[in-house]
Structure formats: structure tokens, C-alpha cells
Amino acid sequence: MPKLVKDGAIIDDTWTRLDKPEGDAAEVNVPAGQVIVPLSVWQAQREQLQARDDIGVWLDSDESAFDLGDDAKQLPLVAVNLPAFMDGRAFSTARLVRERFGFSGELRAVGSFIRDQMCYLSRCGVNAFRFDDETIDLEKAKQSLQDFTEFYQAGVDQQQPLFRRRA
């Protein structure tokens, strides 16, 4: 089973992620089990999917946290996709999901990010990391979460900026 880093530990990834549909999102068959659906599928099938407790939603880099909005609160998992690691929109989206919409479940980074971004992503509220590239050494990658242990500015993980904490 594929692995991911969650809350600093390497665990099995028990979720399946559905690709964006080519055709009508309302027609997509969402299988049983833990499934992360694209935003369009969630929006099209919200009524049915809401009844389940094993549905997560993923936002692409050009999709807004506002499009999911308060729905986030009822989901166990939200994912933000980085189609290319230089596309930094997911960083803002993650913060908005956490801070604006009060999401407290698993916030997962998916896609083509690199381990050197994990520390920053975690400061934006991401607590799970699922690399598209399954050959990545997660033991080593995990160490990047410790690149910095002290920060100047506020983040999701540390709401008090350093200037308020200095002795």
C-alpha cells in the first residue's frame, strides 16, 4: 500500500483519489471506501456524498478555498494539489481552509511538491503529505519538517509572531 507522512509519522495511505472527470461530474461513480473526490464531483453530488463519512475533497491549484467554503467543516479530509511545485497557490489555499473556514481534519498536500516545501506547508496548516512520486524516501523527506524550529511570522501552527514571544 502507498505511504504518506501524516502528523510526522509514515503511515499507509488508505484513501483513493479520483482524478478530475473528463465529462459530467454528476455522472462520476464514486466507489465505496475512503475516497478523495475532485471539487467538481463534490459540488455536483453534494447531496449523496454528504451522507457518507468517508469522502474527502481535493482542490486544484486554480480552485479556491471559497468554492468549498463551510463544507470543509463536515469533511474528514481536504487535499490541496500542487500540479507543479513552483505553483504556490496551495499555500494560501491551505491557510484559508484552516483559518477562514475552521477546518480541523486531515489537510493533505498532494501532487508534485518537494520535501523542501514540507516545513512551509505544515506552517500553512497541512498535516499530511502524499507525494505523487512513490519512490521518494519518506524517512528522509520527513526530516525536512524540522528544517526550522523557530519562525518570525505567525502561521497556522504558531499564531503568535516572534515579536510577541521574544524575551
Binding site: 516545501q117 512551509y120 523557530e150 515579536f163 510577541r164
Partner: protein, 554 residues
């Protein structure tokens, strides 16, 4: 000057360790070229034409003697014995070896310096006025706010992968010497009717291939809200800035596309949610930042007698009097003056400094100016706090070291990027053009008679030489593998910011001194008394210049 505490040292130590690991992974093949690129850029490391180039931040231009000596040692031990002052007040090395960059960064960290975010698509070094804290026209000292913003932007987790580079400048004086109208964000410190400090906020200015003057999106923002407001601007930009085309990715394009009013509205809407968050500055936070930028230990001096002595010395010594006229400025404290050391003698690349010169400046700073200097975006160095009674002695010492060329603000104080001699982006050389023009105007009295005249040269449209805001701007262009130079007129970087207009077809390198001479001649023939080049240009327009230059050139 800001002094690091254990937090700053720890953060920087972790940064150096992180980059050392990244460099090792890259060299071992574990990190691809594409992946390493933004990581090295965010530590100041470019790969250039002849070797890597390392850009070191000089926040708001301030350096002390210890730092200057360390920069000298790095130039000697890791480079070819010199460095370069850039138009963003930074220091650049042109020949470091990639493998040694982590060691250089470790050496810098020891003296509270770094290359953090000096390149890449992130918030760059915050720049300011080189006369901050000493200028007579200052309303509020910008440096404490620059430092607050520097800390906020350093390793900002949300804004390290923006659509494009992002530059902030802060000015606290009536006269803008930080070019805030041509920055992604320009902040003008102001006092409201009640005397409370705040910011006028400009967004979307910039040079590069689409030069734009910034728009005011807020006339007055109380100082305590600066960080949350910046956060709101950056978030709107990060989410909505174009990412499909790097030439259209700067915030100026977004502001234009949305319209400044709509952009301002989007920022205000975002800010509603961020306002009053813990990042709001308390009085004690501002007081703390200000405590690092208190006055040096000025003596109580008799200005009248110091000035009388100076006038006498100037009367007896013509070269000294010329230097006083061009390179020395009024200071707000009685008996003191600010001195600009010129890095523009003819024959030296503008802004270049050798290791020995760095050490000389460190010595001069200790002897004459409380051990501190400032770099300028015009690529010179300032000793901000010199006793008037010491000026003669300083002049003699500066002359000996090659820093006393009395040309500050004149035609030969050319702003010039490294150009095709060093930069892999450049379309044309720029340093030899600067030198040829300097050689055309060697008669100082003639140059003084021309008065203030900004001539800015860029080797490509990325505009590191700020050619759009030169009274005379020169842009290197490539035509079928040959280097040509486009001339522009009418740019201005100060309060009356304006963008230069293209004169006409480009010239060959050999023609450039003659072209500039023609432009100057048209000015001399048309000026009224007291009129500067830019004033004459604004009055008579581009046509007479164009006529003369192309009549002679054809």
C-alpha cells in the same frame, strides 16, 4: 542598527544547515536541477554567464565595519578579490564556487548577514533611503519598519512561491529617495492630522519590460496594521496573479487587469479577516524595533563655527570645495554632515569594490561615522554621520582610497547593471558604455555646469540599471547577435516619478558618447537659468533632442 538575538541567530543557523543539505543533495544527484533552482535562488545563488553569482542582502542598506571586513574576507577567500553594490542596495559576488556557497553563508551568518530571498519568486530585500535617520526632510525614520517587514517576510511560509519576484521599498522622507513608485509595494510613512504614524500604500509599480508607476490603494493605514495589510495584499496576489506567463506575472499586471480600485477592494475584503490578528503591532513592538535605530552618540557641536571653518577650508582648496558641493549633504544634527563615497571613478565598473577598499571603508566608518555605512541604490556608499570639522581629513583619506570622485548626482554618477560582461540574461554589455560616456565627460567643471542629471544603463529589459527612470536611459538590445543601445529620455525616480520615452532607433556602442553629447548640447542651448536637464526636457519635449541626435548620426 538591528542586532540579532538568539532567535535570529538560531533561525539563520538552521537556514545555513538547510541549504548545506540541499547543496549536497544537488551535487549527489538527489535533487534535480529544476528543484534546486528555486532553493538556490532563495539563498541568493544565480548561475551566471561565467560563474555563479551570489547576492547578499543588505537590509535597508545598512552595514557596520565588522560586516564590511567580513565581506572583504569573503571577496578574498572565495572570489576574485572584489564585489559589487547593486541597485537594490545589495552586495554581489561574481565568482563563487557552488560547493563553497554554504560556507560563505555560514561566514555571513556569523556577522548577521545572509542571502535569504535575495532572488527567486518571493519577497526580496526591503530597501529604503540611504539617508534614513539623518535626512533633514525626514518625517519618520523608515528603518524600524523595514526591519519589522524584513522579519515578517523572511521564510514566510505562504509567500515563498509567488507568481514572480516581489519588491518592497519604504520611504520616510518628503523627498522620495527609495523609488517607492516603481516597486511592487511602495510604502510612504506619513503622519495624519493627529500626528499618528501610518503608511500611504502604493501597489503595482515596477520596471522590467512593462514599466508602471504604482497606484495608491490606501491613503492612510495606521502603523500597527502594516503586517496584516501586507499579508492581505500578498495573499490576493498569490492566489490571483498570473502564473501562465512569467512576463505577465508581476503584481503590476494583476493591478492593471483588475483596476486599482477593484484590487484595493479585494485587499480590504481580505484584510477584514486579518485585521487585529496577533500580527498587529503593539506600541511596545514598535518601541522595541525603534530601540535599535536610536541616534548614535552625537556630540553637542557648534554648527556655526564648524561651518565657518569648513568654508575657510573650502575657500583655500578648490578640489575639496567641489567634493563638498557634490558629495556632502546636510544633516539634521548640528555640526554633522552625510558623505557619499563615490564608487564611480572613470574606468571602474560602477559599484565595484575590492577587498582592500571594503576594509578601507570599514576603517573610515570607524574613524569618522560611528562604524556604520549605508549602500545606495545608485551604487555608492554613504558615511551618514560625519563631523563637519572632520570633512577635510575624511576627504583626504577617501581620495587616497579612490572614493572621492566628486560626481554624486551628476552625469558621470551612472547607474549601471553588470550587463553582458557578467550576466547571462543581458543582451548587451553595459559597463563599457558607462565607461565610454564617462570618458566623454572628463571636464568636471563642464559636468557640474550640467547639474543633477541621472543617466541609467541596463543591459537588457529586466531593467536592473533602472533605465526607465533615468533622465537619460540606455537599454542594451540584441539585433541578430549584435549589440545595440536604445536611448530614452524623461524618466524620473523621485516624487515626480515618470517613465522615460524611447528617442528612436538604437545606436551602436561607438556612437553612444556622441549621442549623449548631442543630448547634452540640446539641453545647454535650450535651458533657462536654473533649469535642470529633466526640466528642460519636460518643457521642450522629445522632438528637439530627436532631431539633433538623428541628424548627426545619419
Amino acid at each position: 542598527m538591528y542586532i540579532y538575538d538568539q532567535y535570529d541567530h538560531e533561525i539563520l543557523r538552521q537556514r545555513v544547515a538547510q541549504f548545506r543539505d540541499q547543496t549536497e543533495r544537488y551535487l549527489a544527484g538527489d535533487l534535480s536541477e529544476a528543484e534546486f533552482l528555486p532553493l538556490r535562488l532563495q539563498n541568493g545563488l544565480y548561475v551566471q554567464r561565467l560563474a555563479p553569482m551570489l547576492r547578499i542582502n543588505v537590509p535597508y542598506g545598512m552595514l557596520n565595519s565588522t560586516q564590511l571586513r567580513r565581506l572583504a574576507r569573503i571577496a578574498r577567500d572565495y572570489d576574485k578579490g572584489y564585489c559589487h553594490v547593486s541597485t537594490r542596495q545589495n552586495i554581489q559576488y561574481n565568482w563563487p564556487a557552488l560547493e563553497q556557497v554554504p560556507d560563505i553563508l555560514a561566514e555571513l551568518a556569523e556577522v548577521e548577514m545572509h542571502g535569504t530571498q535575495s532572488s527567486g519568486n518571493c519577497i526580496r530585500n526591503v530597501t529604503s533611503d540611504q539617508f534614513a535617520g539623518v535626512a533633514p526632510d525626514e518625517v519618520v525614520d523608515p528603518r524600524p519598519y523595514c526591519e519589522i517587514i524584513r522579519q515578517w517576510s523572511s521564510f514566510h511560509p505562504e509567500f515563498a512561491f509567488l507568481p514572480r519576484k516581489f519588491k518592497i521599498a519604504v520611504s520616510g522622507s518628503q523627498m522620495d529617495r527609495a523609488a517607492i513608485q516603481v516597486h511592487d509595494i511602495g510604502l510612504q510613512l506619513v503622519k495624519n492630522g493627529a500626528g499618528a504614524i501610518g503608511f500611504k500604500v502604493l501597489v503595482g509599480g515596477g520596471l522590467g519590460r512593462t514599466p508602471v508607476i504604482g497606484s495608491v490603494i490606501r491613503e492612510y493605514l495606521p502603523q500597527e496594521h502594516i503586517l496584516t495589510y501586507l499579508e492581505a495584499i500578498l495573499r490576493v496576489y498569490n492566489l490571483h496573479g498570473r502564473r501562465d506567463n512569467k512576463y505577465k506575472a508581476r503584481i503590476k499586471i494583476l493591478v492593471r487587469a483588475m483596476g486599482p480600485e477593484n484590487f484595493a477592494e479585494a485587499v480590504e475584503k481580505e484584510w477584514e479577516h486579518l485585521k487585529d490578528a496577533p500580527s498587529t503591532l503593539r506600541d511596545e513592538d514598535i518601541v522595541r524595533a525603534k530601540s535599535y535605530f536610536t541616534e548614535p552618540d552625537y556630540a553637542t557641536l557648534d554648527d556655526a563655527s564648524a561651518q565657518a571653518q569648513l568654508d575657510q577650508q573650502a575657500g583655500e582648496n578648490v578640489p575639496f570645495s567641489k567634493w563638498l558641493m557634490r558629495n556632502v549633504r546636510q544633516h539634521r544634527v548640528a555640526g554633522y554632515a552625510s558623505v557619499t563615497l563615490s564608487l564611480k571613478p572613470t574606468g571602474i565598473a560602477p559599484g565595484d569594490l575590492t577587498d582592500a577598499q571594503l576594509e578601507r571603508i570599514a576603517d573610515l566608518a570607524e574613524r569618522f561615522s560611528f562604524g556604520e555605512v549605508r549602500t545606495t541604490h545608485e551604487q555608492n556608499v554613504v558615511l551618514a554621520d560625519v563631523r563637519k570639522t572632520d570633512l577635510l581629513e575624511l576627504w583626504q583619506a577617501a581620495k587616497e582610497a579612490g572614493f572621492a570622485t566628486p560626481n554624486i548626482g551628476t552625469l558621470t554618477d551612472i547607474i549601471c547593471c553588470p550587463g553582458g560582461d557578467f550576466c547571462s540574461l543581458a543582451n548587451a554589455k553595459s559597463i563599457p558604455i558607462a565607461e565610454a560616456i564617462q570618458r566623454q565627460f572628463t571636464d568636471l567643471d563642464y559636468v557640474y555646469d550640467l547639474g543633477d542629471l541621472d543617466l541609467n544603463i541596463s543591459g537588457c529589459m529586466n531593467a536592473c540599471g533602472h533605465h526607465h527612470v533615468g533622465h537619460i536611459g540606455v537599454l542594451g538590445v540584441d539585433k541578430k547577435g549584435q549589440e545595440f543601445y536604445q536611448v530614452m529620455l524623461g524618466g524620473n525616480a523621485g516624487n515626480e516619478a515618470s517613465l522615460a520615452k524611447v528617442l528612436g532607433p538604437a545606436f551602436e556602442a561607438e556612437q553612444m558618447p556622441g549621442v549623449v553629447q548631442n543630448l547634452v548640447n540640446v539641453y545647454l542651448e535650450n535651458r533657462t537659468e536654473e533649469e535642470l536637464f529633466i526640466d528642460t526636457y519636460n518643457r521642450i519635449g522629445i522632438a528637439p533632442f530627436k532631431e539633433r541626435v538623428y541628424a548627426k548620426a545619419s
